[in-house]
């Protein structure tokens, strides 16, 4: 069944905003992806102390006073700054009025895997190391994982559903999926969705180091060289809108979200299963009512861990069959690092840009492919090609899978 033939509304994207290590707006990020730029670099934003993992995808020189116009958000945690900045870009692009004139018909669903991590760290340092008498009075508001969604809701006069999703590396994709469902089912007409993450701190790096899953020297998805993921930070925001609502106001439509699939492995906290990712991808195709052969580009979860990349490759083969080898697949994490909860939104933007430009972004650092990963990962250099449908995969610790499927703007 084709999208739109079901008894539900069609949902389009009318605004996008990104804050990433390779550009702090969607245009710059996309230009960097087209060029195969790498945002993974030696950590500079904080002292390394005794860390042995010394690289990350950092956002350098982010100044809330300069990059975020809301005074209230300037008082928030770094993760709220990123969300605020990306939401501002997306809302401005959508052309929607501020404040939104039908406040109960809009939602703000902006997740975060970890919320205000740096705020927690600094507050605890004040208490336990510096023995200060009190923490900063804004500490609690900065920490809570729903503060970015609340901030953005306040900024645009949104009085409908406002909350955060939290599902580790699938956070943004779940947020976008819920926004999609709300609009399809008539709960709201407009939803600001996505996620933000800012966990690059000494303490957080120590926590990740202890998990033993980080690479000391780079992000090499699908390569024989791959030896773990690389943390990144940033945010991605999409403004979703009911198609008829967007058309009625003459909005510039960037893409349609045609399918969404969601599942859980229900097996293990760290080892991914092939069945969960397979089922989520299949559900997204079924939801859209298209065949696997119609998908031209797939933005992989592609974390560059030994387990994920091989498992994801196997799941793609199960879903796409013979078409798997014809699919252009890339892990843009090779360029941004792993933005954790925010990754799915940034990668959704990459999919939409890829369709609009007819250009599949590359997987960089892929000179020595792993025989276990034997599909076309668009190695090192992006590729001009027509893209009718693009899929974006997000698979999280705990086995939490979410997949989005995008199509061109409806004629």
């Amino acid at each position: 069944m084709k999208s739109g033939t079901k008894d539900r509304r069609r949902v389009v994207v009318t605004g996008m905003g990104a804050v990433t290590p390779i550009g702090i707006n969607a245009e710059t990020m996309w230009a960097s992806m087209r060029a195969g730029a790498c945002g993974v670099k030696p950590i500079e934003n904080f002292p390394l102390e005794d860390l042995y993992i010394k690289i990350a995808g950092e956002i350098r020189d982010f100044d809330p006073a300069k990059h975020v116009s809301s005074r209230k958000i300037q008082y928030g945690d770094r993760y709220s700054w990123f969300a605020g900045r990306a939401a501002e870009e997306a809302w401005t692009q959508s052309g929607l009025a501020n404040p939104y004139p039908e406040p109960y018909r809009a939602a703000s669903i902006i997740g975060s895997g970890a919320g205000g991590f740096s705020t927690i760290e600094n507050a605890y340092k004040d208490l336990f190391v510096h023995h200060k008498k009190a923490t900063n009075p804004l500490t609690l508001l900065r920490i809570i994982g729903s503060s970015a969604s609340a901030h953005v809701g306040i900024e645009y006069g949104i009085k409908g559903p406002t909350f955060a999703t939290c599902s580790a590396c699938s956070t943004a994709t779940h947020a976008i999926g819920i926004g999609l469902d709300y609009i399809r089912n008539g709960v709201v007409d407009v939803a600001v969705t996505g996620a933000s993450e800012a966990v690059l701190t000494y303490g957080s790096m120590r926590v990740w180091q202890a998990m033993r899953v980080l690479s000391p020297d780079g992000c090499f998805p699908f390569s024989k060289r791959r030896n773990g993921t690389v943390l990144g930070e940033g945010a991605g925001i999409l403004v979703l809108e009911d198609l008829e609502h967007a058309k009625a106001r003459g909005a510039n439509i960037l893409a349609e979200i045609v399918g969404y699939g969601v599942s859980s492995d229900s097996k293990d906290m760290v080892n991914p299963d092939v069945e969960g990712p397979r089922s989520a991808m299949q559900m997204a195709l079924d939801d859209a009512g298209i065949t696997a052969g119609e998908v031209a580009y797939l933005n992989a979860h592609g974390t560059a861990t030994t387990l994920n990349d091989a498992n994801e490759t196997n799941a793609i083969k199960m879903v796409f069959g013979e078409h798997a080898s014809k699919l252009a697949i890339s892990s843009t994490k090779s360029m941004t690092g792993h933005l954790l909860g925010a990754g799915g939104a940034v990668e959704a933007i990459a999919c939409i840009k890829a369709m609009a430009d007819g250009f599949a972004p590359p997987t960089i650092n892929l000179t020595d492919p792993d025989p276990k990963c034997d599909l076309d990962y668009v190695p090192n250099v992006g590729r001009e090609m027509p893209i009718k449908y693009a899929m974006s995969n997000s698979f999280a610790f705990g086995g939490l899978n979410a997949v989005l499927l995008f199509g061109a703007p409806p004629a």
């Binding site: 042995y52 202890a210 998990m211 033993r212 899953v213 980080l214 690479s215 000391p216 791959r226 030896n227 773990g228 293990d268 906290m269 760290v270 080892n271 560059a304 861990t305 030994t306 387990l307």
Partner: protein, 91 residues
């Protein structure tokens, strides 16, 4: 088995669902049903017990090879202890 090896076997046993008493240096960790998350816990406890830092990476095949059998874990720990004390002797 020497002291170090005995301590290491105790740590391994703590992280097994069904601890066994027939663990020797040649025993493969896979046979002890130790999974990747158990391994992260074991490395943490080894570091804590011996006051060392093992740059173990679950994605690194060379490093993972050092965690194939009980004997290879003992070797790796002794190696790190030796290089740690050499480094502190220099300092």
């Amino acid at each position: 088995m020497d002291d170090t090896a005995t301590k290491i076997v105790e740590i391994l046993k703590k992280h097994m669902k069904e601890p066994r008493d027939d663990i020797g240096l040649e025993t493969a960790l896979a046979d002890l049903k130790i999974e990747s998350i158990d391994l992260a816990m074991i490395v943490f406890e080894l570091e804590d017990t011996f006051g060392i830092e093992i740059p173990y990476n679950a994605n690194d095949t060379d490093e993972a090879a050092a965690f194939k059998s009980v004997g290879s874990v003992v070797e790796r720990v002794k190696q790190v202890i030796a290089s740690t004390s050499a480094a502190s002797a220099k300092a």
